[in-house]
């Protein structure tokens, strides 16, 4: 078993108006095999948490720590984190001109594993994974995310999750913008990855809808850069009924 531990994390960004604190003391422990849902309103800092785990250079960690089995994740470069077993499915995956999916997937797999995958089995694996995610074979020859619809981009993020086999996956609003069919296909992909390799999942979402297909073990409500409440799956049901208003009111009263 592996453990990803986030302790009392404070993160800010530099804006034109000066330094802006976004995460204000986040603590969270995820073990492999567990699924944690992070739910919160827009602007509460969910993507900031995801990007900070992955090491995006825009975010400054002011204090706190992130460790993977005791190793200091914050001291690692972005690519070292990926090779250590962290994967981020991005909310807005970027287009990479001139690089085909085939070339990209092989290069990334080689980088993550430290050796090139055996060509025959790799090609077969990619084809099978694409088929399961209902991705047309022609996408293999298209440039990474170039001209993909929102839903196609999300499927390709999950394709990578299945092929790269990380220890921990952070899924940043993978469900946003998907219709019900696509949501099911993508959820099945996440569930397959979890079953196959004891994945630890941090499922970031704005809506409760995806939790019908991916069952969380823990739910954390994220408001204004902190975890406002934590519980089991029943907390998601309550959010479904009540929304975030309760937390936002409390937050406003506190301020």
């Amino acid at each position: 078993m592996s453990t990803l531990e986030i302790k009392d994390l404070f993160v800010s960004i530099d804006t034109e108006q000066g330094n802006k604190p976004i995460l204000k003391g986040v603590s969270l422990t995820i073990n492999t095999g567990e699924t944690h849902a992070i739910m919160g309103p827009n602007g509460s800092g969910k993507s900031t948490l995801a990007s900070t785990i992955a090491g995006h250079p825009r975010y400054t960690v002011d204090s706190g720590s992130i460790t993977l089995d005791g190793e200091d994740v914050l001291a690692m470069s972005v690519d070292e984190r990926a090779r250590a077993g962290l994967f981020l499915a991005m909310q807005y995956p970027v287009e990479i001109p001139g690089v085909t999916m085939t070339n990209f997937l092989r290069t990334a797999k080689t980088a993550i594993d430290g050796e090139a995958p055996a060509l025959r089995t790799w090609t077969k694996d990619v084809k099978a994974a694409m088929a399961q995610l209902r991705i047309e074979p022609e996408f293999a020859q298209r440039n990474v995310n170039e001209g993909f619809s929102g839903g196609e981009k999300k499927r390709h993020e999950i394709l990578q999750l299945e092929l790269f086999k990380p220890k921990f996956a952070v899924l940043d609003e993978t469900d946003s913008g998907l219709d019900v069919d696509a949501l099911k296909v993508v959820s099945e992909g996440v569930n397959r990855a979890a079953e196959e390799s004891e994945l630890g999942t941090l499922l970031i979402t704005h809506y409760t809808r995806i939790l019908r297909y991916i069952k969380p073990d823990f739910v954390h409500v994220f408001v204004d850069g902190r975890i406002a409440e934590e519980g089991g799956p029943e907390l998601a049901d309550r959010l479904e009924d009540e929304g975030y208003d309760r937390y936002l009111a409390a937050d406003a009263a506190q301020a």
Partner: protein, 432 residues
């Protein structure tokens, strides 16, 4: 890729605001003229006048139809830098090619070829010289007046290469830096097939004219590689006359030199001609690589496809691409598309890209262009690094993929391999 520039395309009368279409960057599939210029539009039929769009608008010498051509350098006024044709070129770095006698020693040419192909050194009075085209600028005319001997490559009628690596290579090596003139003629006779490589190396200050004749039914590929030393200055006018049902493929590769300016022009001598022009350039700090092409559609039912791609890295790296395509009134049934893409890898580099499409008849198959210049940005880098790739691996992946689209068109395995290696060398020599 972050979009830096978008080329605005205007087809039709300048006053018709609705005719302004935006080229949506890298994914642009081009415009089908038929769709936006129906028979009833001002562009169709008699109402049509020569017009251009892109950078040439409003500049008097912008129409390629009216540009001066002459064998005599004195017919061209001194270059000021204000001309449409010269506005991007750093004249100070031309080392006198536009001003002084070009009496230096021409670069030395060594030849690798199969037996059937003839390569001769001939006097300037040889009757074959001057059959493909007339100089279109002062620097080209200066070389025309100054060259002592010419190299003539002849591909006999119905020649077929032994295999895909059976190419004729002229290795053109610069020997000193006195301004010089050079002249090459490549003649593919009827129904022949051949690949000719002009491989420029060493150091030189040279103005070169390359004439290419593709007779009826022949298929000629000419690859011009500029892999000069850092201080070389090279202007090369490469003019082709494409016969009836002939195919011509032109590939320009600019990798090294201080100032390289290649001006390919294609003209059709009969119907059914097919021209493909590819270009690949990789400019480093301080290098100026300019490519200005012209496709003159003067015969009916001819086709042209232009694809140029460039990467830039380092301070003061500057590339220029100008694509002039003229569809004359008599060129009914023309099918043309031109595209230029640039990838800027670091701060301080600049790419100019100007497609110019002039259309004098509405009765064409299609005409389109796309131009986009993008930057490899931090978000792309983050994405690739978050997939385990180290920074240099990520950057190389992007550049290789980007340029490979052109390299894979060469279809000469040994040459493709060499260019892939050259791109790798550029990448490791650069800041990446």
């Amino acid at each position: 890729m972050t979009e830096l520039t978008e080329e605005k395309a205007r087809i039709g009368a300048p006053s018709a605001a609705s005719d302004v279409r935006r080229i949506a960057g890298m994914n642009e599939e081009g415009e089908q003229l038929s769709e936006i210029n129906p028979a009833s539009s001002p562009l169709a039929g008699e109402a049509t006048k020569s017009h251009s769009h892109g950078g040439g608008v409003g500049i008097p010498d912008s129409s390629r139809a009216g540009r001066l051509t002459s064998y005599n350098v004195a017919d061209f006024p001194a270059i000021t830098g204000r001309e449409e044709d010269w506005r991007f070129t750093p004249l100070k770095r031309l080392r006198g090619l536009d001003r002084v006698a070009l009496d230096g020693a021409a670069p030395q040419i060594t030849v690798e070829k199969s037996e059937a192909i003839t390569v001769e050194t001939v006097a300037r009075t040889d009757a074959r010289i001057g059959t493909a085209g007339i100089p279109e600028d002062r620097v080209s005319a200066a070389a025309w007046g100054a060259f002592a001997e010419a190299t003539v490559v002849t591909i006999p009628a119905e020649h077929v290469p032994a295999d895909e690596n059976d190419v004729t290579t002229l290795t053109i090596t610069g020997v000193d830096s006195t301004p010089a003139a050079s002249h090459i003629l490549v003649h593919a006779k009827k129904f022949s097939t051949a690949v000719v490589v002009l491989d420029h190396r060493g150091s030189a200050v040279v103005s070169e004219n390359v004439e290419m004749i593709v007779e009826d039914g022949a298929a000629l590929t000419v690859v011009s590689i500029q892999d000069w030393d850092d201080d070389a200055v090279h202007a090369s006018s490469q003019q082709v006359k494409v016969g009836r049902d002939a195919k011509f493929k032109h590939i320009v590769v600019n990798l090294g030199g201080d100032l390289v300016r290649i001006t390919p022009s294609a003209r059709y001598a009969g119907t059914g001609g097919d021209v493909e022009m590819y270009g690949l350039y990789f400019a480093d700090a301080g290098q100026h690589f300019e490519q200005r092409l012209f496709v003159d559609h003067s015969a009916a039912k001819c086709k042209s496809r232009v694809t140029y791609k460039g990467a830039l890295q380092g301070d003061g790296a500057h590339t220029v691409w100008v694509g002039d395509v003229l569809i004359r009134k008599e060129a009914e049934g023309t099918d043309t598309y031109e595209m230029n893409r640039n990838l800027i890898l670091t701060q301080g580099a600049r790419a100019d890209s100007v497609p110019n499409l002039e259309i004098e008849t509405g009765l064409i198959e299609g005409a389109g262009h796309a131009s986009a210049t993008g930057r490899f940005d931090d978000e792309q880098l983050f994405y690739l690094q978050s997939r385990g790739m180290q920074e240099d691996v990520a950057r190389r992946l992007v550049v290789r993929g980007f340029l490979n689209e052109v390299i894979q068109q060469i279809k000469v395995p040994a040459l493709e391999e060499r260019l892939r290696e050259a791109v790798e060398r550029e990448l490791s020599a650069g800041v990446l």
